[in-house]
């Protein structure tokens, strides 16, 4: 019944042979690109196969701020435009107060969390049941589904786009940040990076050799425009995204 490795190898060889045959004739340069001064072209006006280093493209993309303080400001502005709620607090104690206040105000009964030095100190004041996701015991999908909020750390925040990068290794797996109705992210302001490219650099430094099985850029609460192109928040993922940012540049 199941396709054998040999069958797969035959299909692979056939496709690769077609690819090799097709590429024997070189393609012209991308439309409108030949002759543009910033494009890496050779003397004949054809783009070189060694492609544009990303460094060249960085200044053309949306701005991510030149200094850490600027990046933080851009990041907060973008998050707010995306309808995430941002809370800037000076320290972890204030972050815990902030979370407790939100939990009371929104009447949360169950909160899911994962073990992390930024997450655990916030739980003490939360006035409801909390479920730890991860660890040896694993977790029950239904329990997580029933949670009002998921509390997680993140890898970094991207100022340029207002995105939050979470990973399955360091942020409580895949479901914690997507299944509960509210996603609360706690991060320090030092975790804000200017651009997506910086986020990739960071990923490479931190995880080279063993990539997390999932890395996800979260850009605002879940949304859809499928009905008459009218924006609705909370399609399948979290309806609300709360970001608690700890620290301040002015104090340093």
């Amino acid at each position: 019944m199941i396709r054998t490795a040999a069958e797969n190898a035959t299909a692979r060889a056939a496709i690769m042979a077609r690819v090799g045959e097709a590429l024997r004739i070189p393609a012209p340069p991308p439309h409108g690109l030949a002759g543009r001064s910033t494009s890496p072209v050779d003397a004949a006006g054809h783009p070189s196969l060694a492609i544009l280093p990303l460094e060249a493209a960085r200044p053309w993309l949306p701005d991510g701020g030149a200094t850490p303080a600027e990046s933080l400001a851009v990041c907060c502005e973008n998050l707010t435009k995306l309808r995430a709620e941002v809370f800037q607090v000076p320290d972890l104690a204030a972050a815990a107060d902030c979370l407790a206040a939100q939990a009371r105000q929104r009447d949360w009964r169950r909160v899911a969390w994962h073990a992390h030095p930024l997450v655990e100190p916030l739980l003490a004041g939360v006035p409801c049941v909390s479920h730890r996701i991860g660890g040896d015991a694993g977790f029950d999908k239904d329990t997580l589904e029933a949670c009002d909020a998921g509390l997680s750390a993140c890898e970094c925040l991207v100022a340029q786009t207002g995105s939050i990068l979470v990973s399955s290794q360091t942020c409580g797996g895949r479901a914690l940040s997507i299944l509960p109705h509210v996603h609360v992210v706690v991060a320090t302001i030092e975790q804000v990076v200017p651009t997506l490219a910086d986020a990739f650099d960071l990923t490479r430094e931190r995880h080279s050799g063993s990539l997390p099985s999932m890395l996800s850029f979260i850009t605002g609460p879940s949304r859809t425009g499928d009905i008459e192109r009218i924006l609705v928040l909370g399609a399948h993922g979290p309806k609300e995204l709360l970001v608690i940012l700890v620290g301040s540049h002015a104090a340093q």
Binding site: V19, T161, L196, E228
Partner: protein, 473 residues
């Protein structure tokens, strides 16, 4: 094995007849056109707002087109690199030469997983290979989780637009549809309708054994697949079931992770007027040791299905750069007037008109090359600089070369013969001016369709050449 699958090829010329018939119908439906126009109105505004945030959109397009150009022209090197890295991450690659092979692979994977319930997130390649019909024919319950795709699945229709699948459906129709299938009370609130789908789907994510997704990019450097979505349904589809199957065309490979730093924001801005799509997720194999959750197995079906035929056409190879943002549909005057279904293709609009003749045969699909005013709005909108409207011309030329139209040829020759002889040209013009009024009076059958909605102008007293000569004096 099933009647639902397109088995025997349709009669020659059927696709063209269907296009002409449906186009004529849609063009007359002013209400439909107005509805589509209004739905796209918000898109234009937000796209322009987001484009303005780029410090140089045109240069960013250069970078994006270079990234795709460089990858597509080195598929021979990058596909094996991607495969090796993806396999090292613990995933399995399955190569599929055509739609039939791809369907067979997925069915076999479902059998080994002993799957009962399958949840799917939006995947155009699965539409291309008619996967759902094959799964249902084999008795699998399969649910589309993307809201627009879910609505289309309930309606029994293919997507109307490959990014906005149900943009043609009014909210009251959706309310009725949900009432009929899910037993929910009527509502005219898009928010309430979205919440109905949300509540309905939650149970299904938790219960599904297998999740099927598409992929927007395959990163050769790291062996990751990248999935772009707004709703979070793909995230859930790849998080909760035991097995994750992704289906992607071979042209989706990019070389480096860094390429996504350009491509992800541009895909969102060009396609939906967003700074970034809500979830851009990179998957590297199944759940790893130490991770809280995730599937036990991850499979990728790599699909050719005539993409190599397009690759072999060096002139139009850049059509494989397409990142399926849908920007060319949103700006196309033809799309906005004839609507998505008229194309009769998986990929609608200008890019669909370019690639469908390559994927499914120029002879049967060349009429799509004429579904263009050649205004070039598509080419201007394309974030990866595909020369879309010129490719429509290239397809017309290729079609004329491979099967020339006898009558057209004779006509062209006749005209050339007349145009080369000034006295004959002048006589012809004189004859035309004299008989124009007569044609108006008689209304010969050849002109009746044209004259039904139009008036002929009065014939001028003299030819342009004569008028010009007089003016020069």
């Amino acid at each position: 094995m099933t009647a639902a699958l397109p088995s025997s090829p349709p009669a020659a010329g059927a696709a063209k007849r269907q296009f002409l018939h449906d186009a004529a119908e849609h063009v007359r439906d002013v209400g439909h056109r107005e509805f589509v126009r209004r739905a796209l109105g918000g898109y234009y505004t937000s796209r322009d707002t987001q484009k303005a945030r780029y410090r140089d959109w045109e240069q960013a397009r250069d970078a994006a087109s270079m990234a795709k150009w460089s990858a597509v022209n080195r598929l021979d090197e990058l596909l094996p690199r991607f495969e090796a890295a993806f396999t090292a991450n613990g995933g399995q690659v399955h190569w599929a030469r055509d739609a039939e092979e791809a369907r067979r692979i997925v069915l076999e994977l479902l059998a080994t997983a002993k799957a009962k319930a399958v949840i799917k997130s939006k995947c155009m390649t699965s539409e291309e290979i008619h996967l759902n019909q094959a799964l249902e024919a084999d008795g699998y319950g399969v649910v589309e989780s993307d809201l627009g795709e879910f609505i289309q699945q309930l309606r029994g229709e293919p997507p109307y637009h490959f990014v906005f699948p149900c943009m043609h459906v009014r909210r009251d129709e959706i309310s009725d549809l949900f009432g009929q299938h899910l037993g929910t009370p009527p509502t005219d609130s898009p928010e309430e309708l979205t919440m109905i789908a949300r509540r309905h789907m939650r149970r299904l994510y938790v219960d599904a054994d297998v999740g099927i997704t598409g992929a927007n990019f395959l990163v050769a450097e790291t062996g990751q697949i990248s999935i772009t979505e707004n709703e979070g349904n793909a995230r859930l589809t790849a998080a909760l079931p035991r097995m994750h199957i992704a289906i992607a065309g071979i042209e989706k490979v990019v070389e480096r992770l860094d390429d996504l730093a350009v491509l992800l924001p541009m895909l969102a801005t060009a396609g939906a007027g967003q700074p970034m799509t809500c979830y851009n997720t990179l998957y590297a194999g199944p759940r790893r040791e130490g991770e809280a959750d995730g599937p036990e197995e991850m499979h990728l079906v790599l699909l050719d299905n005539s993409r190599t035929a397009l690759l072999a056409d060096a002139e139009q190879r850049d059509a494989l750069h397409c990142i399926r943002c849908g920007a060319c549909l949103n700006v196309c005057p033809i799309f906005k007037n004839v609507g998505g279904f008229t194309y009769g293709t998986t990929y609608q609009g200008p890019i669909g008109s370019v690639i469908t003749p390559h994927l499914r045969g120029l002879k049967e699909w060349n009429h799509l090359s004429g579904a263009s005013s050649l205004c070039g709005a598509c080419t201007d909108a394309c974030p990866v600089r595909i020369d879309i409207h010129h490719h429509l011309l290239h397809n017309r030329r290729n079609a004329a070369r491979s099967s020339p139209d006898r009558l057209e040829r004779i006509g062209q020759k006749l005209f050339a013969a007349v145009a080369r002889r000034p006295w004959l040209f002048a006589t012809g013009g004189w004859l035309f001016r004299k008989t124009l009024g007569l044609a108006k009076a008689i209304r010969p059958p050849v002109l009746s369709a044209w004259l039904a909605t139009r008036d002929l102008p009065p014939a001028p007293a003299q030819s342009f050449r004569a008028a010009w000569k007089r003016r020069q004096r």
